[in-house]
Assembly symmetry: C2
Homo-oligomer: 337 residues x 2
Amino acid sequence: MRAIVLDYEHRSLLKRDVPVPAPLGDGEVLFRIEEVGVCGTDRELASFRFGYPPAGRSFLVLGHEAVGTVLETGRGVRSLQPGDLVVPMIRRGCRPPCSCCARSRADLCTTGNYRERGIFGVDGYFIEMAVDSEEDLVRVPPALAAIAVLAEPLSVVEKAMASAFRYRQEPPSTALVLGAGPIGLLATLALLGRGLTVLVHSLEPADHPRARLVEQAGARYVPELGGVRADLVLEATGSPQAAFAAIGCLGPLGVCGLLGAAVGTGQVSFRDLVVGNRVVFGSVNASPESFQSAVEQLARFDRTVVDKLIHRAPFEHFAASIAGPPSETAKVVHVIH
Amino acid sequence: MRAIVLDYEHRSLLKRDVPVPAPLGDGEVLFRIEEVGVCGTDRELASFRFGYPPAGRSFLVLGHEAVGTVLETGRGVRSLQPGDLVVPMIRRGCRPPCSCCARSRADLCTTGNYRERGIFGVDGYFIEMAVDSEEDLVRVPPALAAIAVLAEPLSVVEKAMASAFRYRQEPPSTALVLGAGPIGLLATLALLGRGLTVLVHSLEPADHPRARLVEQAGARYVPELGGVRADLVLEATGSPQAAFAAIGCLGPLGVCGLLGAAVGTGQVSFRDLVVGNRVVFGSVNASPESFQSAVEQLARFDRTVVDKLIHRAPFEHFAASIAGPPSETAKVVHVIH
């Protein structure tokens, strides 16, 4: 069957024929991939900055934002049946499991020996069919079929949001999102859905389609950060300078969630953090609860907005979306079936 | 009666005669100050970098780490009686109260219009007698009389520690304390008391009395931070470079509490914060619960260690302890009565 892979021997991105899955083991589920989304991680993987193939193999099947339909279930599978729509979770716990992985919180793995489908040592979902254990699949209502591919990126937002609300000492009323890419836009929708006043700042001009989508969703697009203070700030840019700016925009008791920034040098007012009881935290991946929460949020989102986050492309156009520049207006989602 | 005051008109620290307190109002308590401790804040106040006197007055009575004995109680006071040992809390809520101040969490005040005894707009306790409302006083068992003056600085540590344990996603087992001043040493004792393995790093050489006190308490003094990773890190130095270093010493799921650092420029690996689900937070002042917790901790501390934190000095030696260099080995506590 067809798959899009990274070939680590020749450092190339290519389509490849791979064997169909072996017969199912106990507790396993075979599912047909319907759609797979592309994100910045895929583009970084394709530049071979990180990621690695399964042991003993020189290639990795890409793709970690997927939605599929169950085709067949192995012995002992109780919660899923053929025809069910499912979204796979990405991270697989370390072996032997650390205390976090042992309690199904591989997203908090403390050994660093976790694997991630489509990223670290396990094949992803830019392929026709895949097999996962029942507990790594999240069932999605059929009504969400057209947007369920957003559940994985939204789960990352939902985990960060759960932490932000837990760390915050008073109910928040204002939020600032830095970045208007798919993660920033999903965060904007999730924050609006929680009743917050949301500002979004990004580098795009105010008449850019992303800025217009922000406004259509009900948030305010702010081209300048001067004087902006918010109860919650979410950094969804990948830029360390944005992370420093995010910390500087925290109001009293403010909580700043970092989702993608790397390493940078800048000024931090630790005094403000201290005097204002402020919190800065990083968040990666997502818990099973965050995936459930993402599915619930998707069902509440304004479809006239969220549908615009998705730009569908054929299977074969993988090179343009993965090796090319990021989409100007939306998340590229490849239709597999 | 005698008081040590900051004169804002002449920018000087001096002893001054001030009126005895007026008759008590409902709910008020008159207490005799037994001892008052001196800290870095007092030294900063004495350099007139911040702080201000009560409205309409040009001087402020210094002192915010105090222990006293109740002399008289006003109408309606239920929980205290003459002879009780008390420690006053420092911050007084904003008026009209923000939602935090309204629920007795002036330490989380979001308006910034709080006042603090001995610091911002209300007289402190380097004086013979004082009056406070019943709810601003914490009763202390007589057995703790000799160390109760440490309750206020310890309450700051206890608040930070409660936050750190709340933010941490797994039970912590190792802690790193940066700074071996009184706050650092109290944090060390509080962390050891919670069963953690504690490392302490400071600028003093390993044969310094503070380093020896750290080792006597059961922690390990580490002259170098290279390779040190801890579940909890507490910055108790006031130095922004130490704060950047503190963040760099966090293990996976690590939580870093900042207690005193100011503003600085340095490198931050936001990627490490993200990938390791790490948390950095600032903490100031203390809640009523943290004062209670401080009193409970004091009762458990090893007296052969904690007694060494205190160096007693006469009332009249105020200039040496406040305007002079910080004590080399201990917290200076002035005996008032």
